[in-house]
Symmetry: C2
Subunit: 121 residues, 2 copies
């Protein structure tokens, strides 16, 4: 189970590690789009876009459905949640540690040092 979650996170972060794929996710966050709509802002061939799309689908961020000749892509609900959650957890562990460090320093140094007096000109 843990290994499955780990592999899922690998795929999520891997999918987000490419600028073209992030542009595609940015577009899909605003609503469903066809493959050619996704390709429009990207300077690459349609097959290359389809390859990136496959990476996004494998990661679970996007799903697509072909109706007639048009493949429509959508963002998956909650897809980014586990990546967001992982980062969030790390940041808050780290911030709690900094808080504890701050408390410790405040306790061990109750008498703040006086500022050195400026020498008279």
């Amino acid at each position: 189970m843990l290994n499955q979650q780990t592999a899922a996170l690998d795929r999520l972060f891997q999918a987000l590690a490419d600028p073209s794929r992030r542009v595609m996710v940015e577009r899909l966050a605003r609503g469903p789009a066809s493959v050619s709509e996704l390709a429009r802002p990207l300077a690459m061939s349609l097959p290359a876009v389809v390859q990136h799309l496959q990476v996004l689908e494998t990661s679970g961020i996007v799903r697509s459905e072909k109706v007639g000749r048009v493949r429509t892509c959508r963002m998956q609900e909650g897809a980014l949640r586990s990546a967001e959650h992982w980062i969030n957890e790390r940041r808050s562990t780290w911030e709690r540690r900094l808080d504890r460090l701050g408390d410790f320093l405040a306790e061990t140094d109750p008498q703040p040092k006086k500022k050195p007096r400026k020498p008279k000109p």
Copy 2:
């Protein structure tokens, strides 16, 4: 400037796309550690750990400093912020869209359909 940010995000997500590197970041979120401490829970050689460490340093998540024979690694302040921010933005764009869709559906269908009555046994 935008290209620099893009490349920085590439490196961040790439760094997080490996389970051993995530274990290292999890450890460092709890406080500084030496390379051998980082290696302890990982089933790999010290040179392999050092290679992962280099990826984390290039991404800006971690920095390390060698004093005498010991290299101490620390998490960098705010390092994960831009990855977190990017994911956050996408999720909220997507959720706002779902809210608007919900409002639209509520407006266009003021009379909810009645549930079909269960046939009597």
